[in-house]
Amino acid sequence: MKTTVELPDSLMIQLKIIAAKEHRRLREVMEDVVSAGLLARERPSGDEGDSLAEAQSWLRDWQELGRRVRSAAVDARPVVEILLADRR
């Protein structure tokens, strides 16, 4: 879904810096940040904050590997399609 939201300049700058540092699209960084914010609102305690950070850290590493997999692709099919085809 597309939407228009006004954000303070300072927030946008921080988001762009993260995107540039992690070589990611701004949209992806914003999705992470919004998802994390929603989860944090559901589970605001310190321990759960730690587990959220742990989860996001794992996903960041996992998606970074995914980007390298995409760059090295020799098969054009989505990886999920390859996996499911292996079962058939």
């Binding site: 992806e28 999705e31 998802s35 994390a36 989860l39 589970r43 759960e48 587990s51 959220l52 742990e54 989860a55 996001q56 794992w58 996903l59 590493d61 996992w62 998606q63 590997l65 995914g66 390298r68 997999v69 995409r70 090295a72 692709a73 020799v74 098969d75 099919r77 989505p78 990886v79 999920v80 390859i82 996996l83 499911l84 292996d86 079962r87 058939r88």
Partner: protein, 140 residues
């Protein structure tokens, strides 16, 4: 609630441009962050490494994917005789393929929710366990 995660969800979460990726990634983050118990069959490791090496031809990348997957805070379960017998029963009664049957049997044994992007698995296994797509899981 305990979740068994099909390798399709794990792999999709790594690739934001692939179908089902956003829901899979959000779902995984939520599961880990909420410390829901995650149970995986060792088969998920094999399937993930196999899919990556077939996608890239790179053994190094496939190994790395396998190692990173092992960093998930999950309990890994072997296909011993008991689990194999359960998978056999699932395969026979649901007419599911071998790998699908292993996931369904594990979810049934663990009284867990099975998360998958495989529509056929989801349609056929409801008698054995609650099986949901990541989108369904996030909506509940």
């Amino acid at each position: 609630m305990t979740v068994v995660i099909d390798a399709s969800v794990l792999v999709a979460a790594a690739h934001p441009d692939e179908p089902g990726s956003a829901a899979s990634a959000t779902c995984l983050v939520a599961v880990i962050a909420r410390r829901e118990p995650i149970v995986l069959p060792w088969l998920a490791w094999v399937e993930t490494v196999s899919a990556v090496v077939r996608k890239t031809g790179s053994v190094a990348l496939a190994d790395e994917a396998g190692q990173q997957l092992r960093n998930l805070p999950a309990r890994w379960v072997s296909l011993d005789e008991t689990m194999a017998a359960a998978a056999v029963a699932v395969a026979a009664s649901c007419r599911l393929r071998a790998a699908d049957s292993v996931y369904v049997a594990l979810a049934g044994k663990m009284d867990a929710t099975l998360l998958t992007l495989d529509r056929e698995m989801k349609q056929r296994c409801q008698a054995w366990c609650l099986c949901q797509s990541p989108e369904d899981w996030l909506a509940t």
